[in-house]
């Protein structure tokens, strides 16, 4: 249908023409409109306490204690179960968060502005590996790190970003793709390039060498530091593409550990949900599939803009690491994803594919027709709260979400 083709062209153009810049780090309550005390933003589509998975509940309890709404974890669980806090998806507030994706009033969040369209998107700061809230961790060490991010790291990095005049993210991503990152399971190159970019501004704006060293050390020790920035960028790029009537382009994919949610441009803010799937992957020693929590996190926003599983060809090392097959087969993932997308991104190219652009603009029609579900690279959380990451793998978005979206588009356009 011409209406759909035109709408999709427009949606793709809006994603591709975005100019995302990291401009600041601010406290969530100051920028997330409508975010209040006793409100918890989580990853994925809407969910109630009774349907939340273990890590999500663990993270909620930790966030409640962190915000001081309950004195300890036990009381926090009681408060959450008794309806004492309100749950909302990050996506409803212009934000995203990895894995459990906790965002609450006092947390510092990255601010990415899409200069071309004037919209902004937000994501909390990546906590690092090991026991962390995004994997359901909630003990004292987890809360102490969050406090340090809020009180020390956030303000320091914010000053440096402002002093630097913001950072152009598209260029960093382009370099990362040529250095083996796909920006979901591997952010090593982008994190390094980011640190190189911000280094002098960080030094110039810091008045305490010990603090400066701890901040640099924190970024340098976290290979995934850039993931949260890439996610906020993804959200900033896709939001302007939402709400184009007739467009079948996906504008968000996310998971809450129970449901997978998809948003489609032509259908605005509606969620199309289906039960999440279990990632297929490799486990850290001592763990196996029986320890794994189902798929979780807003991080699939990077696949929505052509990165992650869609850019697998850029990161052959990732293909082996996450059990996706031989590194030489990485290109097949990207080629397959080009069958379900509207176009390619000429600014983000992959050397191993003769500089083909990453496949961008997932078309729900093509997903359903080919039976090729979007490939998402993902970390795997332990099913019990507080243990953290136990592996990494590949997960497919559930086909049912896309089938529902196709039916809804057809209904909206009066096609039957």
């Amino acid at each position: 249908m011409k209406l759909i083709e035109d709408a999709n062209k427009q949606a793709l153009a809006r994603i591709l023409e975005g100019e995302p810049r990291l401009i600041d780090i601010v406290t969530a309550r100051d920028v997330l409109e409508g975010l209040k005390e006793r409100m918890i933003l989580h990853a994925g589509p809407p969910i109630t306490w009774d349907r939340m998975c273990g890590p999500m509940r663990g993270a909620v309890a930790g966030a409640i204690v962190f915000e001081g709404w309950a004195p300890d974890l036990e009381a926090a669980f009681e408060l959450a179960a008794g309806g004492g806090v309100a749950f909302h998806p990050n996506h409803h507030f212009g934000a995203v968060g990895p894995m459990t994706g906790m965002t609450t009033v006092s947390m510092p969040v990255f601010v990415v502005e899409n200069v071309k369209y004037g919209n902004r998107a937000y994501c909390a700061i990546n906590e690092g590996l090991g026991k962390v809230m995004r994997f359901g961790g909630n003990d004292d060490s987890v809360l102490a790190r969050l406090a340090w991010l809020r009180d020390v790291f956030g303000p320091v990095l914010a000053r440096s970003i402002r002093a630097h005049g913001g950072i152009d993210l598209k260029a960093i991503i382009a370099r990362g793709l040529s250095m083996g990152d796909e920006m979901h399971q591997r952010n090593l190159a982008c994190s390094s390039v980011f640190l190189r970019e911000i280094g002098s501004a960080l030094a110039r704006t810091s008045n305490d060498n010990e603090v400066l060293a701890s901040c640099i050390g924190f970024i340098a020790q976290n290979d995934q530091f850039f993931l949260n920035i890439a996610m906020a960028m993804g959200k900033a790029l896709t939001d302007p593409a939402n709400g184009i009537r007739g467009s079948t382009v996906v504008t968000a994919m996310c998971r809450n550990g129970t449901d997978f949610g998809v948003r489609v441009s032509g259908l605005g803010d509606r969620w199309f949900t289906a039960p999440v799937e279990m990632p297929e992957g490799l486990y850290f020693p001592g763990y196996s599939r029986k320890d794994a929590n189902p798929d979780m996190g807003d991080s699939a926003i990077v696949e929505t803009v052509g990165l992650g599983g869609f850019a697998m060809a850029a990161a052959p090392a990732v293909a082996g690491f996450i059990g996706a097959g031989a590194p030489s087969s990485a290109g097949n993932f990207t080629r397959a994803m080009s069958e379900i997308t509207v176009g390619q991104n000429p600014e983000w190219t992959i050397p191993a594919l003769d500089f083909a652009g990453v496949p961008t603009g997932i078309d729900v029609r093509l997903v359903v027709e080919t039976g090729l579900a979007p490939v998402i690279n993902t970390g795997i959380a332990h099913r019990e709260p507080g243990i953290g990451q136990v592996g990494a793998g590949v997960v497919r978005a559930p086909m049912a979400c896309f089938r529902q979206a196709v039916l809804a588009i057809a209904e909206d356009l009066g096609v039957s």
């Binding site: 249908m1 011409k2 759909i4 083709e5 079948t248 078309d363 029609r365 093509l366 359903v368 027709e369 080919t370 039976g371 086909m399 089938r403 196709v406 039916l407 588009i409 057809a410 356009l413 096609v415 039957s416």
Partner: protein, 63 residues
């Protein structure tokens, strides 16, 4: 209705060497390659996971 053929695609088909997209039986590919005809074999599976209603709807939506 007599159409001037040189310019029409059906006329051109006869004048050029075909280049084939094969959708279905893989056996046809070898025969064509033996005749030096370029063939791309589609790794075909029933569209929409074999749901004919969905496939028909998708066709109307223009995939």
């Amino acid at each position: 209705m007599v159409i001037k053929q040189e310019g029409t695609p059906s006329g051109r088909l006869l004048m050029s060497k075909p280049s084939v997209v094969n959708v279905g039986l893989a056996g046809f590919v070898k025969d064509l390659r033996d005749c030096d005809i370029e063939v791309v074999q589609v790794d075909w599976t029933p569209p929409a996971d074999g749901d004919p209603k969905m496939a028909a709807l998708l066709a109307k939506l223009g995939t």
